[in-house]
Subunit: 349 residues, 4 copies
C-alpha cells in the first residue's frame, strides 16, 4: 500500500453493534478510509450521530458523527464494503452490490456456503482467498465471508494442530458473551446470574463451518476437511469474549507441551505479510492455571489474538484446553478487516 491512496470503504449495517466495531477499528486504519455509512430506512437520511445508538465502551469517534447514513441502493462512493447487515436481509443486498462491482467482506451467514465464496479466516485458510477469482458477478465484484464468531475462535486453535498432528474429532462447549447477540440482544432479566444453554443455529455452525475453513481448495470449490465436531453453545453473563472448553482427538499422540509449543510458535500468512491488523501472535498461550478469562484477556493483540490455556492431557481424546477470544473483533469485524487486508496484499483487491 506504500505510496497509494487509501481504499474507500462502505460499512453496511453501520448502526448495529458489529457496524460500530467496524467503525471503531477503522478510524485510523492505514489502508482503508470509511466513506459511506449504510443502514436501513429507519436511519437513512439522518447523520450517523442521530441514527446510531452507540453501545461500545469507547466513545463514538467524532469523525463519523456528522456523516450521512444512506440506503444500500444509493450510489456508494466506495471500493469495498464491510457488511454487518443483520440476519436474512444480508444475502440479497450483498448479491446486488457484488453485481454492481463492489467487493463485499461480510459477517453475515447468507453466502458462507456458496461454492466460490471463501469462508475466510485469514490465518487459517489464506489460500481460499483466491476463490474470489472464480466468482462471476459480471462486474469485478465479489463476496468474501467470515464464519461464525465461535467457529473462528475455535478454528484458530485447531489449524496448527491440523498441520502438525492431524485432527480427527473435537468436543467443544462454549461460554459466549452477550455482545454476540447484537443489540438489544439478550434481555438482562434472562441472563443476570444465569446461563442460557441455547443459541439459535450456533451449534450447527460450529460443527459445520470448520469443515469448509479447514478444507482443501479444488476444482469444485472447497473439499471439506475430514473432521467431526460436537458443540454445545451456552450464553453466559459476560460482556465481551467467547470462551470454550475444547477436547481434541489428534491424528497422532502428542504431549500437552508439544501442543502448547505448536500453538505458541504458529505464524501464518497475515503475520508474514505483516498485515496491519494481524496480531503478532495469532495464538497467545497463557501459562497461568486459571487463564484465559474473557474479560481479562480479550484485548490481547488488539482483540485479534485467540488466547489458549490449561493445555492438558484428555482422558478420552488426546488433549484438552480452554480458549477465549474477542467475539466482536477477532470473531467478527476484525477478521473481516484482516481478510480485506489479505486480499489487498495478495493483489486481489
Amino acid at each position: 500500500m506504500v505510496g497509494q491512496t487509501k481504499r474507500k470503504v462502505a460499512i453496511l449495517g453501520a448502526t448495529g453493534m458489529v457496524g460500530q466495531r467496524f467503525l471503531s477499528l477503522l478510524q485510523n486504519h492505514p489502508w482503508f478510509e470509511v466513506t459511506a455509512l449504510v443502514a436501513s430506512e429507519r436511519s437513512a437520511g439522518k447523520t450517523y450521530g442521530e441514527a446510531a445508538r452507540w453501545v461500545l465502551n469507547e466513545p463514538m469517534p467524532d469523525k463519523y458523527r456528522d456523516m450521512p447514513v444512506v440506503l444500500s441502493d444509493a450510489a456508494l462512493d466506495a471500493d469495498l464494503c464491510f457488511s454487518a447487515i443483520p440476519g436474512d436481509l444480508a444475502g440479497p443486498v450483498e448479491s446486488e452490490l457484488a453485481k454492481k462491482g463492489y467487493k463485499i467482506f461480510s459477517n453475515a451467514k447468507a453466502h458462507r456456503w456458496d461454492r466460490d465464496v471463501p469462508l475466510l479466516v485469514p490465518e487459517v485458510n489464506p489460500d481460499h482467498a483466491h476463490l474470489v477469482k472464480r466468482q462471476n458477478h459480471g462486474s469485478g465484484g465479489y463476496i468474501v465471508t467470515n464464519g461464525n464468531c465461535s467457529t473462528i475462535v475455535m478454528v484458530m486453535t485447531l489449524k496448527p494442530l491440523v498441520d502438525a498432528f492431524g485432527v480427527k474429532r473435537v468436543f467443544v462447549s462454549t461460554y459466549q458473551a452477550v455482545s454476540g447477540a447484537g443489540y438489544p440482544g439478550v434481555p438482562s432479566i434472562d441472563i443476570l446470574g444465569n446461563v442460557i444453554p441455547y443459541i439459535g443455529s450456533e451449534e450447527e455452525k460450529i460443527e459445520r463451518e470448520p469443515l469448509k475453513m479447514l478444507g482443501t481448495l479444488g476444482p469444485d470449490g472447497v473439499a471439506p476437511a475430514d473432521l467431526r465436531v460436537s458443540a454445545t453453545a451456552v450464553r453466559v453473563p459476560v460482556e465481551e469474549g467467547h470462551s470454550m472448553a475444547v477436547s481434541v482427538e489428534l491424528g497422532r499422540a502428542a504431549t500437552p507441551e508439544e501442543v502448547a509449543r505448536t500453538m505458541r510458535e504458529w505464524r501464518s500468512r497475515p503475520q508474514h505479510l505483516k498485515l496491519p491488523s494481524a496480531p503478532e501472535r495469532p495464538l497467545e498461550v497463557l501459562s497461568e492455571t486459571n487463564r484465559p478469562q474473557p474479560r481479562k484477556d480479550w484485548r490481547r493483540g488488539n482483540g485479534m489474538s485467540v488466547n489458549v490455556g490449561r493445555i492438558r492431557p484428555d482422558p478420552l481424546f488426546t488433549v484438552k484446553y480452554f480458549a477465549s477470544g474477542s467475539n466482536t473483533v477477532r470473531g467478527a469485524a476484525g477478521s473481516n478487516i484482516l481478510g480485506a487486508e489479505l486480499l489487498l496484499a495478495e493483489g486481489l483487491l
Copy 2:
C-alpha cells in the same frame, strides 16, 4: 419414624455456607432436630446469631439465633452429625467423632475414598449404604460421605442411562455457581462479567468419583465402574446452581426420545421409600429449547431435582444434554440429609 421422637442432630461447621444450608433445610424436618451447633474456636462460646455471618437469601431461622456454638470436642447432645467442616480440618475431626460413636454424614472429601465408607448419592447407589456395617470404629459410629457437588448432579443424570443402556465415556464441561466456593469464596472483581476456567481439584473429582458411585459393592469395598470421564470445570457469575454440558457414549444405540423417557421415568429407592427430602422426580426433564437454566430451575423439587434438557443426538458419541442442579442443596446439604433419611429408613441409623 412414625411414633418415634426425632433424632438429635449436630451440625459440624455450622457457621459456613453449607452449614447454613443444613440449618435452613432442617428447620422443620420431620425426623431430625438440630440440637448442637459446632464450629471453630473463633465462634465457640458465642450464640449462633453472633457467630454466623448469614449469607443465604432467606433469613436466618429464629430458632437457631440463641443456640450456643460449641467446639467439636464438646460432649455433643446428638445421635448423628452433618459435617460441613471445610477443607483439611474435616478428616481428623470426623474420625474422632466416629470413634466416639457418632454417625457422621459428611460433605468433606477426606473419607470419600476410604474402603468401607459409602460415597453415597441416595438415588444412585442406595445399596452402598450398607457399607457402614463394615466400618469398625469400635463404638457404633460410622462415616458416610457425599461426593463433589458437580459430580452429584452429573451422576444423577448418568445412573438411569447406566441401567438402561450402559455408559462408556462421558465428556462434561461445567458452569459452576460461586456459592460452590463457600464464603468468602470467589472475589467479585474476579468473576463479574467473566468466567474462570479453573477450580482446584474439581476436574479430578468429577472424573474419578463416578467410578465409585456407580461401582459394585463387593467383598473388598466398591469395585469401580467401567466408565471414563473427561471434565472441564469452569466458574461463572451465577449465585446458585451448577450446570453442565454432557456428552455420553452409551453401551448401545438409543434415541434422544428413549433417553428422555428413561430419565423422566426414573425413580429410585428414596422415592419408593417416600423419604422426606426425596424429590418426586429425581430428574426433571424440561422440554423448552433453552432450559434448564440455573437461576430459574434450581428450586425444583425443593432444590433436590436435577434438571435436564436439550437432549439430542451427539455427532461423536450417542447423546448430549444440558443438566443443572442446586449445588448447595442437591450437591451438598440436601443429599447428605437424604442420605441420613435413607439410612434411618433402612434401619442403619
Copy 3:
C-alpha cells in the same frame, strides 16, 4: 369472605411480567379465583402455555397452562380485573371495562390522576378507597390504581413519619431492578457491570405521586399533601427489588431511635383487617449495618414488607435511611391484590 364463594378475576395483560406475577400470587388465593386471561391479538386464541414466555424464577403454575387467552372485548367471566396492561394501551381499555361494570385494579399510570380514582397504597391511604363511590361509569364499575413501584416503596416508609412527626422535604436516590422495566426490558449489554442513571418518567412519578397518596380526601377529590420530593432514578444490575437512599426533613426533631421505633411499630388497616396479602409488619426494620439488600431481603413478608435499615441522623435534614422492597410484588401486583382485598373487606367490592 367467610362462607362466600371466591370472586372471579380477570388478568389484563396476563402474558407480561407483571401479569405473570399476578398469576403466581393468585394461584392459591383464598378470596380470588382467576377465571379469565386477557392479552393482545398476538396471544389471543392460544392457550396461556403457548402464549406466555414465562420469565419468573418459579415455574408457571400448571392450572393456567391450558386456559385460553382472550381479547379484552370478549365477554369476561369475571367480577373484577387486575390490569397489567403495558403503557398507553391501558387507559382506554380500562375505561371501557369500567363502563361495562368491571371493577378494575390497575398497575398502569393512565388513570392515576383522575380526580375520583384512588391512587391506593393500602397501608398508606386506605380511606382513599372510598373515592370509588364517586366514580360514575353508569354500571357499578370503577377503577383503582396503585402508583409507581418506587413510589410505593418510598411512601410506605414515609407514612408513619408523616403521622408521627410530619414530613416536609425528601431526597431520594434509587437503585432499581431490571425487572421493573418489564420484558424484554433492559438489554443485558447495557447493564452488565454498569448502572444507568435514567429511567423515563420515573423521577416525575416519584416526586409527584406521594402528594396524592399522602393527601387528604376532600369534596373535590384528594387535596395534595404539603411535601416536596427530589428524586434521582437509577437502574442497577439487580434482578428483583427496588432500593433507595432516603433523606427526610421531618416536621419536628426526632432521633433515629424514635424513627426506627415508629417504623417498626407501624400497623395500618390491612394489618388490622388481617387481609390475606397484608404482611404482618409493613415495615421490616433491620439492625444489621449493611441491610437491607434487595436480593437478600425482597422476599420478607412474602414480598409485601418494605425493608428499612441504616436509620441515622442526616447532617442536612433530620434523618436518613436505606429502604428496599420487591418491585413486582409490593411495588406492583401484590399491592394491587392487597387493594382489592381492602375494598372487599370494606364492602366496596
Copy 4:
C-alpha cells in the same frame, strides 16, 4: 522536565490493586521511572511476577515481572514514593520514610488530617501543594495525600460551582465499584445481583474531606470550607467507576445550562501546566439523557476525567446531576501521580 533525567519512583504496596494501577499508569511515564517495588514480608524476596496476583484487565507490563520486591526498610533507590499501603500499616511506614527524606504521595488515609499535609486534588486545590514546605521531617522528605476515591470524584464536580456560584449544601448517594474495596475485596456471593448499602467509614470521608480540600490555606494550615455534605455510600456490582447522584444548593440561583457551561469550561492549574496526566477536560459534560455510565465512561481522559450528566433543576436545592469517574485512576493512583507532576512542575519536588 525537558533535558532532565527521570525521577526515580518507589511503589509502596506494589502488589495490591492500587499498586498495580500505579505500575500500569507509570509504565511509559515521561517524568517518572519505577525503580523500587515495596511490599510486605510475604512478598519480599520474590520477583514481582512471583509475588503479585495481577488483577487488572490489561496484562502485567513485562518490565516489572523480574524486578525484586523489597521491604520498606530497605535502602530504596528512589526520589519519591507512591504509597498504596493498605489500612493501618500506612501511617507509620510513611512517616518513617518521610523522615528518611523521601517525598511520599499517599493514597492512605493516615495523614490526611495532619495540619501541614495537603489533601491534594490537583485541579481543586493546587495551592495546597505549598503546605509541604511547612512540614519538618528534618530531611527534605514530606507527605502529600489524596482523599477518598468517592470524595475526589465529587469534589471535582463541586469546585467550579464553588468558584462560580458558591456551594452551601450537598446531598450525595453513591454507586461504587467493587474495585474500590481492593483485593480480594467484596465476595461475589454478596454482590452478584445485589447492592450493599454500607461501606465502612466511607460516608464520613465523603462528608468531611471536601471541607479541607475546598478550604483556604492560612497560617494554621487549611481553614475548612463552609459547606455541608450528607452522603450515603452504596456498593453496586460494577467493576470500575464510582458514580453518584448529587444535589447541590448553590450560593445563588443558576440554571442547569449555566452549571453545565461552568463545568464544561472549567480548566485548572494541571491543564494550564499541561501536566502529563492532566486530562484535557477535567469535567466531561455529557448530553445524552442516560449518561454518564461507569462502564462506558470511566476511560475518558485516560481515566482522569470526571464525567457529568443529567444536569437539571433540583426541586429542593438548586441543581442536581449524576457524576461518574474511575475510582482506581482518578480516585486513586492517577490523582496521586498528577499530584507528583504538579509538585515537580511547581519546583516542589
